[in-house]
């Protein structure tokens, strides 16, 4: 992977998927990569985000448009002093709306479509069905990709309980609709063969859930069954797309213990499935000066002899007596603060080495002390990602 960079990934791939555990900066990373690709590579780029911070959503015009793809106006780039050579588009993923779209597309006729959309269980299932969100994200990606409307699509993955869920969602959906049990459940009651296995099931199900509820479920699935072929076909196509050369993953993490552990697991799973991991982005990393040997010695010295050191330093600063005394009280604290952060930086350095195995490019992004709330902020972050040297 030598010579690789996120810039090259954005140039060469059609789909980049930003993945990682919650709270590590997945959304911002995806937005920054898309912004840079639109600004500097002349590409028509779409970023599909899931749950952006409100001010960032505002900056990208997502507040008004939501599920609909909308273009980020060139003027939004002015604050960054950039004239985009391409186009930046953005869309937010609305699970319910996307499911409705899906039903409209796959339903065999208007009557079935309306019956499904009006079914009380449908609303519940489409918004709460396990992996429903993940499935819809992948489905939407496939639909947009095959429409050929964009040069590059950057996807921010949903905050899942398990970062891998969305990878398996298409397959699981296909399994779900082709399962024997579902067929049995929705078969007309008279033709149901009460086998040894199914009889106690039905008895217990009836006793616990009530037959009316079971009936409701069955009816819902009878309607859904009509869309079976469309679903399975789609699911398989999405799986192929994820594994294709057009797609690469950007794994995002911080170097804190829990996110790093999840990222490591995620990297291993992606490799196992032969999905391409183009880059590892490490967010909120501490500056390397914190592990500097000379500064460490200085910090220890300040902790022990801060009051004495205030003398020559106070002189160099031209301080009055009382402020020199204040400095004397501050210096040990400065030393201790350095050592506190150094401990964290050391831990992070170790974590970084463990993670870097198995990823193409490794990019580190420092702690930004300001929230990223506009295109200028995204460009600033994007430049860090772009110019980072390969590991």
């Amino acid at each position: 992977m030598a010579g690789s960079s996120i810039r090259n990934l954005a140039s060469g791939r059609e789909i980049l998927i930003s993945a990682g555990s919650g709270g590590v900066g997945k959304t911002t990373t995806a937005a920054a990569v898309a912004t840079m690709a639109a600004a500097t590579l002349g590409l028509k780029v779409l970023v599909i985000t899931v749950d952006p911070a409100r001010r960032l959503a505002n900056a990208m015009g997502l507040e008004q448009f939501g599920n609909v793809e909308s273009r980020v106006p060139d003027e939004a780039f002015q604050g960054a002093g950039v004239r985009p050579t391409g186009e930046l588009w953005a869309a937010m993923l609305d699970t319910k709306e996307s499911w409705d779209d899906l039903v409209r597309r796959h339903a065999p006729d208007a009557q079935t479509r309306d019956a499904i959309l009006a079914n009380p269980l449908y609303a519940n299932i489409s918004s709460r069905f396990v992996q429903s969100h993940d499935y819809v994200a992948m489905e939407r990606l496939y639909e947009i990709h095959s429409s050929g409307r964009y040069d590059l699509i950057v996807v921010d993955t949903p905050p899942t309980r398990n970062a891998l869920d969305f990878l398996d969602a298409p397959q699981r959906m296909a399994d779900f609709f082709s399962s024997r049990l579902l067929r049995w459940l929705i078969a007309p009651s008279r033709s149901r063969v009460l086998t040894f296995a199914s009889k106690p099931f039905y008895t217990v199900a009836d006793r616990i859930l009530g037959s009316q509820f079971l009936q409701d479920i069955a009816e819902f699935f009878i309607l859904f069954q009509t869309m079976y072929d469309g679903f399975v076909e789609r699911s398989e196509a999405v799986s192929r797309l994820l594994a294709s050369d057009d797609t690469s993953f950007i794994v995002v993490s911080t170097l804190e213990v829990s996110p790093a552990r999840e990222a490591k697991y995620f990297l291993a799973e992606l490799n196992k499935r032969n999905y391409d991991v183009g880059a590892l982005v490490l967010n909120k990393t501490l500056p390397s000066t914190l592990t500097d040997q000379a500064s460490t010695v200085t910090a220890h010295d300040l902790v022990e002899h801060g009051a004495e050191r205030a003398e020559p330093l106070g002189e160099a600063l031209g301080l009055e007596q009382d402020r020199q005394a204040l400095l004397g009280r501050m210096l040990p604290e400065l030393g201790e603060n350095f050592l506190r952060f150094q401990l964290v930086a050391g831990r992070e350095a170790e974590e970084r080495d463990r993670l870097a195995v198995g990823a193409g490019t490794v990019a580190s992004v420092p702690y930004f002390t300001e929230d990223i709330t506009d295109i200028a902020g995204l460009v600033r972050l994007g430049k860090r990602l772009w110019d980072e040297n390969p590991a």
């Binding site: 309980r161 296995a197 099931f201 200085t298 603060n337």
Partner: protein
């Protein structure tokens, strides 16, 4: 209101992913156990992180004692169903039939609220039976937790007959009693976690009847300087930047750069980082405080530098929580 946190018997701990939900849940449970309560801590999302906070191997559905007085378990809806069938319906034989549980798992996947009710039901059962003095739940992240907590109501409405209907009623009573049950939301003083917390607090009020017991502000950074100190530090920082860097200067025997301005650059940079991080978080902390309903305690936990994981950190956080709860 004003019911002391650990006087309740059931606490759901939630928050946005990555804010330290599990570390707070594990510490709260440990604190309860240290105060002499027979305590159960239950992990709901099968991520397997909770075990790390007590330095033990993977947790199972059957609770194991991980510290004196403290029992830990991992939720498993299939096991929960088996137990339910065995205890409630006196159907031990059926519970042992593999395919039944498998089919139920399938229905549970398809039917809304079934998985959630098996989770909440098992937990509520332990509370009702008074098997423990305190049950702490490392619950789902803020995006999912409302659905989980509202599941008895939702399911009760959806299924108008049957055993489930009868079962949801007592669960609802137990959950909505503030003397028994409370939610603890964990946030870090950053934009998204605070947004999500305030949103969740609103939804808990409108979509459930469950009491918000406390909000925890995690990883709060200490103030490094007062005003006079900050001014002096700014002078120092400017001078350090302006000073000639001792590029090829050989290290003296003492090795310390503390006698020259230039030698302080690393130390100054670390202080600027601490100040900058704190400053960026202050407005979010204020926003969090201002957005909470009156009477809801806001507990502050400092950023931990030494150890953030493992038994040692959990004990440290339990101690910090104890101080905050006084």
């Amino acid at each position: 209101m004003d019911i002391p946190l650990l006087d309740r018997r059931l606490l759901f701990v939630t928050g946005k992913g990555g804010v330290g939900k599990t570390s707070v849940a594990s510490a709260l449970a440990l604190l309860g156990a240290r105060q002499g309560k027979r305590t159960l801590v239950c992990e709901v999302d099968a991520k397997g992180n909770l075990a790390d906070f007590y330095g033990v191997g993977p947790l199972e559905f059957a609770p194991t004692e991980v510290q004196p007085n403290l029992y830990a378990m991992a939720m498993n809806t299939e096991e929960s169903l088996r137990e339910y069938l065995k205890l409630q319906l006196k159907l031990p034989l059926l519970a042992r039939l593999g395919p039944v549980a498998k089919m139920f798992d399938f229905v549970a996947t398809a039917a809304p609220g079934v998985k959630e009710i098996l989770t909440v039901g098992k937990i509520a059962y332990e509370v009702r039976e008074r098997n423990y003095d305190l049950v702490v739940v490392d619950a789902s992240a803020s995006g999912h937790v409302v659905g989980q907590l509202a599941s008895p109501v939702a399911l009760g409405e959806l299924i108008s007959v049957g055993v489930v209907q009868a079962q949801t009623a007592w669960m609802i009573d137990l959950l909505k009693d503030p003397a028994t049950t409370g939610v603890v939301v964990v946030a870090t003083p950053e934009e998204m976690p605070v947004n999500e917390t305030l949103e969740l607090v609103g939804r808990l009020g409108t979509e459930t009847e469950i009491d918000l017991a406390a909000v925890v502000a995690n990883r709060v950074l200490p103030e490094l300087f007062g005003r006079a100190e900050q001014e002096l530090f700014d002078e120092l920082a400017t001078a350090v930047r302006g000073a000639d860097q001792p590029v090829a200067q050989p290290k003296v025997a003492s090795g310390s750069g503390a006698t020259t301005l230039a030698g302080l650059d690393g130390v100054v940079e670390a202080a600027e980082l601490a100040v900058g991080l704190r400053r960026s978080r202050v407005p979010h902390l204020k926003r969090l405080r201002a957005g909470l309903p009156e009477g809801v305690p806001l507990l502050n936990l400092p950023m931990l530098f030494i150890r953030t994981h493992g038994t040692r950190a959990t004990h440290a956080i339990a101690g910090l929580l104890e101080d905050e709860l006084v």
